[in-house]
């Protein structure tokens, strides 16, 4: 054993069985994280920015350009703290956004298209992957929370609008309907009636981006970037908070009817837990 110090990894002497168990644990946890992150990010996004992303005639309004990056950066920021601090993995933003994309595409197809009969061309979800990749890349390159907030937050927002231009462009072509000028997206919105959402008529008319984009789209993107910087900082803090391992004494222990601990009988209770830092977490 002493001849081969490489077999002690991150302060742990790995038995064959222990190493195998560690790998199994990694795989199970990876799947749990993908499912949980995808579900939570999707729930969060759909209920805070969803309406502007559900319909193609709502996209390109000032709310979509402004709100989508602000809401979408929250979970990536919190997860980046956990993944970077404890595992040195610069993949958190991409993981969260990939999870969100999987959930959204599945639902737009099975829910909006197959169940409610909207054409996919009306309900495709926004593209956020370039923003997420940039956020992760900036964290990797700087290794610094503040710089990631400033440059990553701004990049996350500024990349969002052009990332979607390729899909959005055809819907912005002008068409003439009953002597009025409209966009293809507008015509689709009016053609496919959403019976239970009359409110949208008033809300979308408020924006100025519907006048074929222009400077207000850019202004909205920069404003969104500014808020993204602040949002990133707050949610990095959420990451700190939610990854803290806090315990309180179990006052209901009597209910469990446990046989009290005899002094010195427990092999596993005596020692303190390994402090989980980047140097010890390793393969577990």
């Amino acid at each position: 054993m002493r001849d081969n110090p490489g077999q002690t990894i991150y302060g742990i002497k790995w038995s064959k069985e222990g190493a195998k168990l560690s790998r199994t644990f990694d795989i199970i946890v990876a799947v749990i994280l993908l499912l949980a992150v995808a579900g939570a990010t999707h729930l969060h996004f759909m209920l805070l920015a969803g309406d502007w992303d559900f319909w193609v005639d709502w996209k390109d309004r000032e709310f979509w350009v402004t709100l989508t990056p602000i809401v979408a950066i929250m979970f990536p920021a919190a997860l980046q703290y956990m993944f970077w601090k404890y595992f040195r993995l610069p993949i958190a933003a991409t993981l969260a956004i990939v999870g969100l994309m999987i959930g959204e595409w599945l639902n737009r197809y099975y829910g909006f298209h197959l169940w409610s009969y909207f054409p996919m061309s009306m309900v495709w979800p926004a593209m956020l992957l370039p923003s997420a990749l940039a956020l992760d890349a900036i964290l990797l390159l700087t290794g610094n929370f503040l710089l990631t907030a400033i440059f990553g937050g701004m990049a996350f927002s500024l990349l969002f609008y052009p990332s979607n231009w390729f899909m959005l462009a055809p819907y912005r072509l002008p068409v003439q309907i009953m002597d009025y000028l409209a966009s293809v997206g507008d015509v689709m919105g009016y053609s496919f009636t959403r019976t239970a959402t009359p409110e949208y008529l008033r809300m979308i008319e408020r924006g100025t981006l519907r006048t074929f984009g222009g400077h207000s789209a850019t202004v909205s993107a920069f404003f969104s970037g500014f808020v993204c910087i602040l949002t990133y900082m707050v949610w990095w803090g959420f990451g700190v908070l939610f990854s803290r391992v806090i315990t309180v004494p179990n006052t209901f222990k009597k209910l469990l009817g446990l046989v009290p601990k005899a002094a010195g009988t427990s092999t596993q209770q005596g020692g303190k837990d390994t402090k989980l830092t980047t140097s010890t977490v390793g393969g577990v």
Binding site: I28, Q268, G271
Partner: protein
């Protein structure tokens, strides 16, 4: 360097149970997937034909029928799973071997895996589907084809596994019996609280006659509850801490027994 063939590293020759046993989690996962496919198929077949008017007798047959079945079966599942965990609890927690403790940690992680599968279907797949339905079909009842599945089907189902994993940890693992883990409680209680939040949601929709803007403040309760899923990060770190301690003990014991250490 000697190699001990078929060694049980922590010295429990009588304990030949596998540390990681996928059998029950696999059955639970396949069962969950079957239920989700059933829900989706049921919606596809009967939402448009029998789900548009709550005063229609066919609505009562199909959708209220499904709702009543859920309201009976899922609480029975709760009682069954939670009672089983409680009544088979280990009262001699402090005498278990590290190997047994490690086995139970894996059981807990697999329990959380099943929980995550159930949460994903509720929070992602069926939740946004609710938007596609309600922004298309006017709701005239709280028990719409979307709600019968989302609110009264998938959400109570994940509560089974969430509360179950909390109970399992508290009754099977010494460290969780000694001290309540706040990340574990948050990861279970937040999604659980989405269930009572439904009452507020339905009351708000009925009382204020709101249109189906999904981002309306009425829905923000769901969002805040959903944030607590982040506590799974803290929980997994905590489990990793405990498991590292056990694996270290395993490695040291294996070394003392002369087993080859993995490189």
């Amino acid at each position: 360097m000697a190699t001990v063939a078929n060694a049980t590293p922590l010295g429990r020759p009588s304990d030949d149970r596998k540390i990681v046993n996928f059998k029950i989690p696999a059955i639970a996962t396949v069962g969950l997937l079957a239920i989700m496919v059933f829900y989706r198929t049921f919606q596809r077949m009967f939402a448009w034909t029998a789900g548009l008017d709550s005063t229609d007798p066919v609505f009562d047959t199909y959708w209220m029928g499904l709702l009543k079945a859920e309201l009976v079966l899922i609480p029975l599942l709760w009682v069954g799973v939670w009672s089983y965990i409680w009544f088979t609890r280990d009262k001699n927690l402090y005498s278990i071997t590290p190997r047994e403790e490690l086995r139970r940690y894996f059981n807990l992680v697999l329990f959380i895996f099943v929980y995550a599968v159930a949460v994903w279907f509720a929070a992602s797949f069926f939740a946004e589907q609710d938007a596609s339905w309600h922004q298309t079909v006017v709701r005239d009842t709280s028990f719409t084809p979307s709600h019968v599945v989302l609110f009264y089907g998938t959400m109570p189902l994940y509560v089974t596994f969430g509360v179950g994993s909390l109970l399992y940890a508290t009754t099977r693992l010494p460290k969780y019996a000694d001290n309540i883990s706040i990340p574990l409680v948050l990861a279970v209680a937040g999604p659980f609280m989405i269930l009572p939040n439904l009452g507020f949601n339905e009351w708000g929709h009925a009382f204020w006659m709101m249109e189906e803007v999904f981002t309306a403040p009425l829905h923000w309760g769901f969002v805040v509850m959903g944030w607590t899923v982040l506590a799974l990060g803290g929980l997994l770190l905590q489990i990793a801490q405990h498991m590292i301690t056990l694996l270290r003990q395993m490695g040291e014991l294996a070394e003392s027994e002369g087993e080859v250490i993995a490189g």
